[in-house]
Amino acid sequence: MNPYKRSHAIVLASAIFAILFATAEITFAQKAPFRLCVSVEFMKQCEDMLAAVPNSNVKCVSTVDKIDCITKISKDEADFAPLEPEEMWVAHRFVKEGFIVISEVRWAEFENRNFRYEPVAVVRKSSGIKSISDLAGRKSCHTGFGRNAGWKIPFSHLMDKDQLPKLCDGINAPTTEKDLFAISNYFKEVCAPGAWVPEKDKDLELKKKYPNLCQLCENPSLCSRDDKHGGYEGALKCLTQKGADIAWTKMDAVISYFKLDSQPIAGTEDYHFLCWDGSSMPLNLNNTCSWAKRPWKAYLSSSRLSSADIGDLQTAITALRNKGNDLPAGDQKLPDWMRNVLEISNEPPRKLNQTDVIFHFETHVAKLTTPISYLSVGKNYSVTIEKPSCATGSSIKFCVKNDLEKSKCLSLQLAAAGRRVLPKVDCVLAETDLECIQKVGNGQADLVNLSPKDSDWAQRNYDLVPVLSEVEWNHNKDDIGPYRYAIAVIKSSDPQDYKNISALQGKKSCHGSIRSLAGWNAPLAKLRDLNLIGGPTCGLTIQMSQFFGNQSCVPGAKDVAIPTRMPWLPTKNLCSICAGDGPLAGQAFTPDTVCKDDSSERYFGAEGALQCLLDGVGDVAFIDHVELHGKILASGDMKATDFKLLCTNGSTMSNLTNYQACNWGKIPSNQILTRSGDEWEVKREDVRLTLLKISDTLGPGGKAVGVLKLFGPYFGNNDFLFKDTSIGLCDYKSVPEFKSLISDFDYCTTSTAPSLFSSFSILIFSCVALIMARFS
């Protein structure tokens, strides 16, 4: 049977809409179309949708994420969008007024149900539990650790009813452990299966520490997510078969487990629902005693629309949905735009073996419901968002460097809180990286994101410690990690046979920036390792310059020479082929721009280094694979066919994606740092776990991806909070090659603590002496 037949039957009632629609079309013609927020990557699918329904009177507005969409609706740049209840909460907190909920997205199977699911508490009658205050010391079954219906929602109510807060303060520990501690001390025995923290060994350690939290599981020693006493029905199994007192699950599971819709199983009468007000209700289909009802995903619009407009908009949405349900014929698949543009079918009902999800239209919620009252209809669903953990009072403070970055940080704060990630993020404003490092050091902020060089500096001078690294994008899934590959790029037309890498000698080089690890430090270290340059530490720079025939462009070389008291740095040679703001070397319009460490220098940065090749000025450019693929080639400004890779054995590769086999070393990614010291251990763990949760939830592939774009330009600004090109966060691991990358050069250039300075001077002096000796 075509599953869509059913959809037709259900929407039969909306045949009236066809008529409405026919008449409405006439009025539509004069009206501005309703603007639907569509994620930028699905704009093409929106065109497909509009082509399928030519008179829809809808147009799509490209948005970066849901927060961008909410902003656009409030700015009258968009009119409507589908949002999960958690995002309704975000919308309400973000812009207090001006929104209305106009239509819900319901599953066909449950189209008469007013809520998507209803968390309930089932109690063994003989336990004598009469109210919430009777719960302490009982045996409690849960769907799983950290899950919504079975963990966070009961947790939020126990917090709200003052059952847990005093226990929360019983231990000084990271939030995750505080939560475990509180529940462990509140209930006598529990089954809370699943990973409590991402790391296996730490998870085992915690499970040993709080054994009663796994005691009711079928396999207490494993206590894993797939435990038979976990999950919606598993929690009921735990209740009925392990002699527990209470189980937290959802209404559907109670109906199917106890077979309430047919012949209730034997023993059903031994249980009843415990209601949030302390009363109890028999187990039957008429239950009205859930703890919090999760509303459906719904369409949000603006209250500036007249009620007539809202009616038209609802009709337009229905028409699109009807068309989407009609379209599948042979392959029985809904068009992609149903899922990605209208967001109607992205939540297939778990237990049903079909995907005939249907959009159900509810006019009664349509006219006057604000997002917050939409949530409160579900027994104050907001409470479940605001109090799902012990950590409601604390925060981790992210250091940001300008107003706009703070604005992204505040959006992150809201998006994370909306998804029950705690402790909450706070945002602390500083002017520079250095000020951020100081603020983290003295406790005014808790974390800062730094480049590997700055991170190294902050570790040495301010005792900060890295806890997380950004994960870099890579073509090869198995090679994804907290590092980039330094690569050497030459022109594909380069006739030179580099069979032996020493043939690189005398070639002209482009390095992007003296601060660039891939552009400067990596080739320096590699040429040293290959014994093509050598000698005392500080002589390397000069030797490298000589290796390239004193014809290089290393933007910034002229700036570091002075502040670091390295007047001997061969500035002239390191800047000799730089172009400044002119078309070629020696033709700068503004002399001062030559060799400047910013985009006023034509050959600045990775793109500039490649430009240096294309201009025929340089022979080799040193950049990294993320810059090449993630930025330059992705933007379409340059063509891959113009370049090839030069490997350190002298071979070349025209396939630019071969950087794993053909590279000049690994460069660590940006790192999240916090304070060292035993007294900050709890804070460090909170920072680490919270940011990991944020990246898992809001980042690519996360449950709430699309709410806030973590990685990517923000209103045209680059690298706010995280690098635009990153794809996630992971635990910090040092890249072993890194120390040797920076040691040789940086120990000569960065002036560190003043107390060390005298010894540096001696070092530099002896280097200079040596170099002078060599020249004489």
């Binding site: 812009v95 207090k96 007024e97 107003d403 505040l410 945002c427 050091g441 003295n442 406790g443 304070r675």
Partner: protein, 272 residues
């Protein structure tokens, strides 16, 4: 390791943290050169030596912020200048903000012969001849110059609409948005350029005594609706609970009542 000292009560305009309590944490609030004041027209001296002010502003602003005590627009300083009048240096515009009351009988910080206006805007400038930044100037005797302009209820203020149209997007404390429209702060200044001037202070903590005050005599219009938009802002953060103070978290009123003039003199420049 140095730890930040937390726990200083946040100042505000409610009974428990209002202007009368500021002196506990900000001793300068009890100083001799505090603002605002009641301008007594009979006691102000007509000063013929005072010249008209000269001002020129960039129309570019940076951000609109809910400070928890009101709103503030930060501006692009480049290309803006204020000089003349009582000022011996050139000053640069840093930001502007407003003060208002819960009904139209109060709201302005300065009063004239005891009379309040429903609101008052402050254009805050710093001495860019002597100092290199606002932060450097803020606590210097001649560091700041603030223009004060009274609002009276009347027609909608077109320039102010640029702000009021955006305020719903910064409902909570610390909310911040980039300003996308141009806004010319000079348009807040009344047609008649007559003003009073006296040495005073910031009217909010830390109440630094660094301000040359210039208060225009002629009020300009603002509509009742615009004032209502001011009063609809909230003084708490997005994720904070609604405070249980007498304003229930709304910024209904954010003016400091007048302080003693003491030994200071108010000079008057009559023009136009």
């Amino acid at each position: 390791m140095v730890l930040q000292t937390h726990g200083i009560k946040e100042w505000g305009y409610c009974n428990h943290n209002g202007p009368s309590t500021w002196g506990e944490n900000f001793p300068l609030a009890n100083g001799p050169r505090q603002s605002p004041i009641d301008i007594q027209t009979d006691n102000s001296t007509l000063d013929q030596s005072l010249t008209p002010l000269r001002y020129e502003y960039s129309k570019k602003s940076k951000t609109l912020v809910n400070t928890g005590a009101g709103w503030k627009v930060t501006v692009v300083g480049a290309g803006s200048v204020l000089e003349g009048g009582p000022l011996n240096y050139k000053y640069k515009l840093e930001q502007f903000h407003c003060h208002w009351g819960n009904d139209n009988s109060c709201g302005s910080e300065h009063t004239v012969d005891g009379k309040s206006f429903p609101a008052e805007i402050h254009l805050v400038h710093w001495n860019c001849d002597k100092y290199s930044s606002f932060d450097e100037a803020v606590d210097k005797e001649d560091g700041l110059a603030v223009l004060g302009i009274f609002f009276q209820v009347g027609n909608e203020n077109g320039t102010m609409s640029c702000v009021t149209d955006l305020l719903h997007r910064v409902p909570h404390k610390d909310d911040i948005i980039p300003m996308e429209f141009e806004i010319d702060p000079a348009k807040f200044i009344p047609e008649n350029p007559s003003y009073w001037t006296y040495p005073g202070s910031l009217t909010t903590p830390p109440c630094l005594e660094s301000v040359s005050w210039i208060v225009f005599r002629e009020p300009v219009d603002i509509s009742e609706k615009q004032l209502e938009v001011f009063r609809s802002m909230y003084n708490y953060g997005r994720l904070d609970r609604t405070p249980e103070d007498e304003f229930r978290g709304k910024i209904l009123s954010n003016y400091r009542p007048p302080l003693e003039l003491g030994a200071r003199k108010v000079r008057y420049c009559q023009l136009g």
